[in-house]
């Protein structure tokens, strides 16, 4: 008899306290499972097709975006309209893992030039409230093609040869920075 009692004790599943069971699996485990499934699918769709997180590496977007900060890029931002002057965009290289993050300052058909650190668009000075660091760049006028955007970082305190900037074709711009 004592042996039977011992066996019965071993088979009995461990009972969780009621509050812990509710905290872990909810009042109705099936509904909880369905909620988790919907959440996973929604997150997958959003982060695969609409938004993707990026981590900034480098100082070319200072002081607006700091090295190491994390942001979200919207892939759907340019479905209904084209990139605008002042937008911060992500530009793809060969694939999706490493991208450039730059600000659009020139639109298709415009002529962009730098004179004593000031940006001239078709000969007119561009107002850039985001540019807070001293710049002394001088670059000759560059005419943009029908499908080209001029992009540059906000940190122009470094010499232009150390800064990656220039004309990007529209198909390389994959999204707009949201946050």
């Amino acid at each position: 008899m004592p042996a039977q009692n011992q066996t019965a004790q071993r088979v009995q599943p461990p009972q969780l306290p009621n509050w812990l069971r509710i905290a872990l699996v909810g009042r109705n485990p099936k509904v909880t499972l369905a909620r988790i499934g919907i959440l996973v699918v929604t997150c997958f769709i959003i982060f695969k097709f609409a938004l993707f997180p990026i981590r900034v590496e480098g100082i070319s977007m200072l002081p607006t975006y700091r090295d190491g900060s994390v942001h979200l890029v919207s892939r759907t931002a340019y479905l209904w309209h084209e990139p605008q002057c002042g937008d911060v965009v992500s530009i793809r290289l060969a694939g999706p893992h490493v991208m450039y993050m730059k600000r659009v300052i020139g639109l298709p058909g415009e002529t962009v030039a730098f004179v004593n650190g000031q940006v001239l668009i078709d000969g007119q000075v561009l107002d850039e409230p985001y540019e807070k660091l001293a710049c002394d760049w001088n670059l000759p006028p560059e005419k943009l093609g029908p499908n080209e955007y001029f992009v540059v970082g906000d940190n122009r305190s470094m010499p232009p040869e150390w800064h990656t900037f220039g004309k990007a074709s529209r198909d390389r711009i994959i999204g707009k920075l949201l946050l």
Binding site: I91, L93, P96, K167
Partner: protein
């Protein structure tokens, strides 16, 4: 119940068979991707590597390229080099190993397009180079052309892709990597 079990078992067996097939006979894209990842590993070297290891690494690099390979590296503000043949690549690799303390090369994105005959291919890739003592990595898009020679995919041409271009601006060169 028995039918469902058999059906699940059959699907699992088919999936296992497909997986085994892809492991034993990988697609050219997969082979090229693996080869380029190996290439990046061979180009890289750590600061505490011995001279013999560095020499072996530089010599091993040649085996990834065809004998008549043409390499055009043009990173704005950094380096511009045109190399021809395996010998020049080995020399350049040795030069880089003596000029900088450590180099970490990665290809985070590799997009492979195999030609219809499956004897040649093009790989568009992002190169990320971290030089020891330099805070910011160099990021550059490049295009590799590969040819299948004696069953092995060898690089025949390397070109720099200008992701962002400026026609009227030619930056001065400050070679942080001295390749020759």
């Amino acid at each position: 119940m028995k039918i469902i079990f058999r059906l699940v078992l059959a699907v699992a067996l088919v999936a296992f068979g497909v997986w085994i097939w892809t492991v034993l006979f990988p697609s050219p894209e997969k082979v090229i991707r693996k080869r380029l990842t190996e290439l990046a590993r061979t180009v890289s070297f750590s600061p505490n590597e011995g001279n013999l290891v560095r020499l072996a690494g530089a010599q091993n690099l040649a085996f990834f390229f065809s004998t008549n390979v043409e390499v055009n590296i043009d990173v704005p503000g950094r380096v511009q080099h045109n190399l021809m043949g395996r010998g020049e690549i080995t020399q350049a690799a040795l030069g880089a190993r003596s000029a900088v303390n450590g180099l970490d090369v990665k290809f985070p994105d590799i997009v492979v397009t195999v030609a219809p005959g499956k004897q040649s291919a093009e790989a568009d890739l992002t190169v990320e180079v971290k030089i020891s003592n330099e805070r910011e990595p160099i990021v550059q898009e490049m295009k590799f052309t590969l040819q299948k020679t004696d069953g092995e995919w060898l690089v025949t041409r390397v070109e720099t892709v200008r992701t962002l271009s400026i026609l009227n601006f030619e930056p001065p060169r400050f070679p942080s990597i001295v390749l020759t």
